[in-house]
Amino acid sequence: MSDTRPWLESKAAPESVLALLRHAKPPGALDAVTRERSRRRLAQISALPAAAGAFLWLKHVALGAVLGSAALAVVSLPELLHQRTSAPSPSAAAAPARQRRVAPLATGASQSAAASNASESAAPSALQSASPASAWSGDIGAPAPRKTVAEAKASVGAASAKSEPESELVREARLLDLARGRLSTDPAGALVMLAQHERDFGGGALGLEREFLSVAALVKLGRRAEAEARAERLRTLAPGSLYQERLTAVLHPTAGAEPTRSKP
């Protein structure tokens, strides 16, 4: 393509085309009211079993039945979430066991040491990547997705037949490493991964590190109040630890620090 400037700038299009483009409006932003309504609807539907949730997503369905079912569904939500995943995996089967066994949070110093040891000894990652544009194949003609996270986790679990606590730590550290790697370019994605860590590992051996990374991600996203609140809890959980300095650095960066990434 010879001219890489927009047509309205280069005028390299017929006048009839330019005339239409001059009238065009860019997409509008999501307003706060609609956003909140969407969030509430999503929260209500999330509390229901999958089939009922999909059905009740339709417009004009009475919310009374939804809320009544939601109260019952919330109690059994963890099992429902794991049953909903399409590919049963060792990680899903092991999740209830992990939830019952909540490891006490280590101190800041020992967590940092554990994290670095686990990273150094971690097996090469078997997490393959699916094609970005193909959440699933279909109309857009995307290639078939490669190995899923569940399949990759299963292969890692089978390959590393070490004692469970060590494998657990390796998996924790790997997930946190992935999240850490995304902090600067995709803090929202990092936050999703950190939430997954909390769901899969609970307090875990690296829970404090997870909390620190969550604070960093929230700062990057501009969610200052949430970042401050989580930082305060982390300070309480790990008083006098290295996290005190790290939290100060991330909450009050010096001039020239990396700016928050904004998306169109």
Partner: protein
């Protein structure tokens, strides 16, 4: 869920923390993307919910190899494709279009309003001739002024692919506009 953890407070128990985080961070991106893909104003909220229902179901399969926005863009494409199939039938019957939003703006000059409505109707007709991915590229580049590298980042494809799609979209859009002009000159609606 980690009910025993003292740190489990990212979201209410009714919604998994990760889904809440995705909605909080990217609902606006999805909203704009659906518009880029031709979802009409009056349908946007419902289609937004369709996207997040899919997100809720499929987030566990997201392997973090691409950016989350790229993954979301893929979902929006699929949902918008289904919407387009339904919308074509409905809007051909009802004559609805994006200019409906302009009526709520209350522009003072009726002639200006009519001219704007007509321009938006023709713009939408021309855009509807484009495939969804080419439409998204065209809207982002020509109307929003987003750079090709940034579009490539959103869609998770090489910059060269973006330029290729843009080139095709430009040709198709121009042909659609010229076709409309010819039809109008012949006196047909």
């Amino acid at each position: 869920m980690t009910s025993a953890s003292p740190l489990s407070n990212v979201a209410s128990p009714a919604m998994p923390a990760d889904v809440a985080a995705v909605h909080e961070a990217h609902a606006d991106f999805v909203w704009r993307t659906l518009q880029r893909l031709g979802v009409h104003q009056q349908d946007l909220e419902d289609v937004l919910q369709e996207v997040f229902l899919v997100v809720h179901k499929r987030l566990s399969t997201f392997d973090h190899s691409s950016q989350l926005t790229t993954w979301l863009f893929g979902i929006c494409l699929r949902v918008a494709a289904a919407y387009r199939r339904r919308a074509h039938r409905r809007h051909e019957t009802l004559g609805l279009g994006p200019e409906e939003a302009l009526l709520r703006d209350g522009a003072a000059d009726p002639e200006q309003v009519l001219a704007q409505r007509e321009a938006l109707r023709r713009l939408e007709l021309a855009l509807e001739t484009l495939g969804l991915e080419r439409r998204a590229v065209f809207v982002m580049f020509e109307i929003e002024g987003i750079s090709a590298p940034a579009i490539a980042d959103i869609m998770g494809v090489p910059v060269g692919t973006i330029y290729s799609r843009l080139s095709t979209a430009r040709a198709e859009f121009t042909r659609a506009v010229e076709r409309m002009e010819k039809q109008e000159k012949r006196g047909r609606p």
